[in-house]
Amino acid sequence: METIMKLSLIAVVPVVVSVILHYLFKIPSLNRINYWVKQTIIGIVFGLIAIMGTEFGVSVAGATLNARDAAPLCAAMIFGGPSGIIAGFIGGIERWFAVYWGAGTYTRLACSISTCIVGIFGAVLKKYMFNNKIPNAIYALEVGIVGETIHMLMVFVTNINDAVNAFAVVKACTVPLITINSTAVALAVFVLKAIERKETHKKRSKTVAISEQIQKGLVALLILAFAITSQFMFSVQDGIAKSDSLTTLTSNLEDVKAEIDANSNANLLEITGKIKNEVIEKGYDDETLLKLSKKYSVTEINYVNSDGIIEYSTISDFIGYDMTSGAQSNEFMCLVDGEVTEYVQPYQQISYDLATYRKYAGASLEEGFIQVGYSADEFQWDLASKVVNSATHRHIGETGGMLVANQQGIIDSSSNGKTGTLLEFAVKGISKDIKENTLYKMEMDGEEYYYSLIRPEGYTIVAFIGTNEANVSRDLTTYMNVFMEVVIFACLFILIYFMLDRLVVRNFKKVNGLLNDITGGNLDTVINVKPNEEFTDLSNGINTTVNAMKEWIDEANRRIDNELAYAKDIQFASLPTVFPAFPERSEFDIYASMNPAKEVGGDFYDFYIINGTTLVFLVADVSGKGIPAALFMMKAKSIIKTYAEGGIAVADILTNANFNLCEGNDAGMFVTCFIAFLDLKTGELKYSNAGHNKPLIKKKDGKYEYLKCKNGFILGGMEGVVYKEESLMMEPGDEIFLYTDGVVEATNADKELYGDPRLENTLNIMSYEDCETMCKKLKEDVDEFYVGCPQFDDITMLSVKFKKYFKF
């Protein structure tokens, strides 16, 4: 429990530190720090966490568990590659020297190197696979697993001459180390990713990237391949381990069996020899045989004549039995043939009665032979002193040994102090059904063992070996195989991802970028993404389509240009453009000009004489430009003229025109207008303003100044607006200048406006003979101001000079 608590605490540290660092670098003064300085700081902080991991590791099964590798991975995954590499090297180098103050030496090299490698690994992935973004937690988890797998492989590689011990360390560490480190990385990444998402209000994209789709498929496929190959490898290794164990056990069993057999045979042959000698001396009638059987503690003695018939026996039923009638008894006929003088059989069923087991030996006489048989109880008593040591020194491997149990099931000899106990207590699950020379599993003193047995001479010989020891090669191979596969599959995954990114995704992005250019209006963009056949085809296809489109657009543009030119002609034709406009009138001079920003503009001016003595002049600006503005302008112009010629007051013209222009104005167009009546008899100027720029007025011998006038609302914007009339007296020599915002809002490259003050100033320092030269010179000055920049708005000017009173 304490171990789990400690390990969890170690795993949580990188998470907490990541969050703190994230918020620290949000502080503006810290955020401004140079990238490399930041990476170094983060690298050092996580390096210290790695050191903490080393120093506060938890000892489990003789190996020290820690979360050292999680620190450089967190730094790399969350904050950037360089910090991960720095943290990795700090952690790795400190681990190397940590042996001087207590860290383990066995995995010194492996731990040092792998912490450095893991930092570099994280940095490479961050840059090339995750495009310097924080990856999803699931990928962080996978990176953690692969990183720790590399660590485990390093333990093997650096202790290759001591594979069994290295394996013991790896076996104890693998699961907890991989779990704790990958969980720590995944957790930190998960938390930071969540914070980042919250801060940027970034929602998960609904569309799935091609790389993501393939990544998912690839991960599933690799896991499947990994599971199948690992399982296959394990099964093969398991089979080999079991067969090897059985071979080892069997050869040991055969050795002990041979020893017991030899002792047993020698014992019975010795007894038989003694009995033979006594029979030669005393004769072989039933009575003598019975006495001898008691003397030598044997079960039976038979005399068989040269025809193979039992003539005398300690067991009266056997008398008259023909030895040739049974396979077992027939073997003894070799004594009659004179081939051998003595013969001994293994303990087995007898031909006369299959329910009875005996061990027989025979010795030939001059005629016939003597056969001695005894049951297991009797000969095991004789053999006890020989058997007792038969298994004592028999050790199999480091954990294995042997047991020899007698007919009663009591262990007579053992390699592990089990002598005297019942076999069925020592070897759980043992029974008559257990076959000879077959591998079984059992538990003894809490350990698991493989065992095999044989049953010679009524004994049961058991050989056993610890499953861990028997399987060490299998487990080692399987672990190595799993580790290598993890690394190989990770490499494969990264490689496929790279290829996909380089060959497909990047090119798609390039094509999309160029397509955006085209969509953005640059039809001259040529798509030249040709890394392979498919993209070459795609590029060529798009280029052909765009070219075809371009031709169509050019065609359409030419048509529109023609139409706009017509429209411009019509618009211009509606404006008075002949100057001098009233050559017969000497009371005033007037000049006006309009330069549209596009082909047709929204500005207009107008002037005419009503009642012979009143000069009406106006300048107006329709919202927007182009055809819609021009159409609205024509309407406004004719409405105003109609009302003006109707002889109503100047303000009423605007009030009425507004009413008409609001009608059916769904497009929300509007027009600003300054209109004035100059009474040529009195010089009185009556004027009204509908949201238009204030005109400039100049008294004779004075300077141009902005006219102080009220601003009414624009025309066409809102129904029911009532416009006000104002007036002033003009004297001969006075001038008034009307214009549109295209003049004052002309903008140069520095984004400066021409502006009201400059307009006023220019008019005052300029020298001119009449209204026409004044307008033209001013236009030149404005053009000069924004030279090289596009003309945003129509530029319209109207200048009137009152020269003398009208006289009848």
């Binding site: 929204g602 949201g691 238009h692 204030k694 601003n711 609302f713 914007g717 915002d741 809002e745 406006l753």
Partner: protein
């Protein structure tokens, strides 16, 4: 021109950046036309707006007509140049400008 829309419930804030003229006004009109249905409060932030032309004024007027009776409509952070345009055109009297 850049249009940044921030929606909080029924309150829409539209921040404009750059020039609102003949070329960009249709873009703003298109952006707003579809998104004013459930809006009861519309704030136009002119903090980063450099210039407004008559075409831009037209869009403001159109929006004003849509918002009329639906709820609040105001324009904030208007710079001096644009304020002058509002004064000249009389928009200052019909728009809520803060």
């Amino acid at each position: 021109m850049e249009i940044i829309k921030t929606l909080e419930g029924n309150k829409l804030t539209v921040a404009l950046k750059g020039r609102l003229d003949t070329t960009t006004a249709p873009e703003l009109e298109g952006e707003l036309k579809g998104s004013l249905d459930d809006i009861t409060s519309l704030v136009m932030d002119f903090k980063d707006l450099e210039y407004i032309s008559s075409a831009g004024l037209r869009v403001l007027l159109q929006v004003s007509k849509i918002m009329n009776g639906k709820g609040e409509y105001k324009i904030v952070n208007v710079c001096a140049d644009i304020m002058e345009v509002f004064e000249i055109t009389g928009f200052i009297d019909i728009l809520t400008i803060e």
